[in-house]
Symmetry: C2
Subunit: 398 residues, 2 copies
């Protein structure tokens, strides 16, 4: 499916969502989008624009774009904006005219304290919009579009799910290649560079910046978190962990896999390593069992978090899961605890069509971290795994 068709699919979905939330008009107001991208724009218009531009979707199905003259042809080619105004000197008068024609009672704009993916309107552009609308009835009709954007971004269409599925399949094949490649004595960096070499060869992109992708954790001496792969050496008796996300055809994967490096004479992992795997796996299953439409995100997190703590490990200091799509952290909803930094977005309900990561880790002293991450689709009846879940430790032999 080509991008144009995907955009058409999402724009049609947006009209339904406007009606569902009783909003008359959704305004995406942007400029210089290569320097200052609005994450919502790529959902409804796969273009970059230069000067101040307005993309308006109305609940009656009307679509209007006001853009600089030199960007006009690119928006025309999308084929989803029947009314396009290409201006030369300024947008203000055109925008006031279109709003007067459409006479919306509510105008959703792209800001959100909680959801970064719904917060593409800059504060300067907000002030600019206020100036343009000053003296019109529309200045007081602006509302946050966070619900509209969260629904539009979060409810994946079948074509979007298919793209994520492809990215995941590619990622899993890469993990198989890592298993054949990695040997004790290699550094984190060598393993990361092997993976990046393969991604570059295939002409694929990265779900998060390349210097930190994949994250490679070797044994107990690696930093945990978002650090670049460094010089720690993979050793026998240690765990090997990769966190890898690729972007293929505009959609992402985000998966973590675990290996244990067999020590001389070993045929399986020592009990404390195996137990850590079993508990992390069990916690993912515990969370998954609550991942049903309507459940608030924090309850899903709580099930996994309690499982870890009940098994004697310290809780993980992050969320159990996030949405996955055009980027790795694909906006609200978060499957996270009720901490300040997840305020609002951890209260949002799980919806059909959401694709979530499910992830957490524990640490095994002297061995390394144990961290898994699966990618799953929420369906009417529960959860469909898009990744082939890791149900057993994998092994690196020397």
């Amino acid at each position: 499916m080509k991008n144009q068709e995907l955009i058409r699919e999402k724009v049609t979905q947006a009209t339904q969502i406007l009606n569902e939330f009783d909003v008359d008009l959704w305004l995406t107001f942007v400029r210089e989008t290569t320097l200052s991208p609005d994450p919502a724009l790529e959902l409804i218009a796969d273009v970059d624009v230069t000067w101040q531009s307005a993309f308006m979707l109305c609940r009656d199905g009307a679509h209007v774009a006001i853009i600089g003259r030199f960007d006009r042809e690119n928006v025309e080619q999308l084929g989803v904006y029947p009314q396009i105004i290409g201006y030369d000197q300024g947008i203000a008068e055109h925008l006031r005219t279109v709003l007067a024609e459409k006479a919306p009672r509510t105008i959703a704009i792209n800001y959100s304290e909680n959801d970064v993916a719904a917060d593409g309107l800059s504060h300067g552009m907000y002030r600019s919009l206020q100036n343009i609308l000053a003296g019109t009835p529309f200045a007081d009709r602006l509302i946050s579009g966070e619900k509209i954007i969260a629904a539009l971004r979060g409810r994946k269409s079948p074509a979007e799910v298919e793209r994520v599925r492809q990215a995941i399949a590619t990622t899993e094949a890469l993990f198989d290649e890592v298993e054949a490649f990695a040997k004790p004595g290699m550094t984190q960096r060598q393993i990361a560079e092997f993976v990046r070499g393969r991604i570059d060869e295939m002409g694929l992109d990265y779900a998060w910046p390349k210097p930190f992708n994949p994250i490679v954790t070797c044994g107990p001496d690696s930093a945990v978190g978002h650090a670049a792969a460094g010089d720690v050496v993979l050793q026998k008796g240690h765990t090997l962990h990769l966190d890898l996300g690729i972007k293929q055809n505009d959609y992402c994967s985000d998966i973590q896999r675990m290996w244990y490096v067999l020590d001389d004479g070993e045929t399986e992992a020592p009990p404390e390593v195996q137990r850590a795997f079993d508990v992390v796996y069990g916690a993912i299953k515990a969370g998954e069992s609550l991942l049903t439409p309507g459940t608030p995100g924090w309850q899903v997190d709580e099930a996994a978090r309690d499982f870890i703590v009940d098994n004697g490990y310290p809780e993980y200091m992050h969320a159990f899961g996030h949405l996955l799509g055009r980027v790795a952290h694909d906006g609200a909803t978060v499957l996270g605890p009720r901490w300040e930094r997840y305020a609002g977005i951890c209260e949002l309900p799980v919806e059909v069509g959401n694709i979530f990561t499910l992830e957490l880790h524990v640490t095994v002293p002297d061995r390394g971290i144990m961290s898994l991450e699966e990618d799953v689709l929420v369906t009417e009846n529960g959860v469909e795994y898009l990744s082939n879940p890791q149900t057993a430790l994998r092994y690196i032999k020397s």
Copy 2:
């Protein structure tokens, strides 16, 4: 020069600028910067962060970062933030504490109606900051950081100039390759794909998105502006125009070059084509002569624009020049007319250390457009060309 050293150079420059503008503290407040980048952040911290993060530069030279725990190591490695607070649950209390310690009378934040490069703070993050500061004396001390950011971004350090110079040299070598490659009968797309193939082979990046880079205009039937290279065929007796910008080592070029495709029996361009070249070249020289420190941008534009109109061509419907640096459109100042869409930024004065593009076009009926773009550095004494200016038409032979 490595990125760390470049960052250190810019952070030192920022302290001087805070003193120059009498601002106590500059706060860059960001989250999920891969999805929602702030153009100012890359100047002072070459990292991405996940949770709400605060980078604070003080006029006394103090640098403080408050970031999520998992991003801590990356900021430490920069070596320019002696005080780093890595938090787990939320940033609010830490931010209030640091501000209480520093007690700034003014806090510059990243919003600007006029300058997109100084407008990285989202409206949702602005509201979030207001909530965090509610009840403290600092809520009323927020001001726009646009002057600070414009100065920091616009006044290129010697190391930054050197990087732009490298990108330009690479671009000019590519133009030579195009001249050897292009033949009548080829499409815009074939020529663009040749250039992109070479850029990809060299492992370089693009100054603006690849589908629209280079812009290739063949004769009178190509769209003018930001469109993707299409199926128009290069023909004898037509002009060939390329607008190409690469990104090398984080810094950009942005250059336009002109060829004429000799028709059978021709040894030079027909008079109307030659005259168009001469007038466009003359207009660039006319603008260049006013490009001196202290001159407002619109006066530079006016000199070039008047030259075009005085020579009987219609004026170009864009600005004569823009800043060039980490991106192709590198923020304020613009050398543009006093139109609504250049409000504010065309009034700003040219400064020493600015790198500007100088560009404009006219159209030759039945032949195609005639469009040039040079990259120049503003010095104490005037202008230094970083590109080798095109002083004569170039030719494609069959």
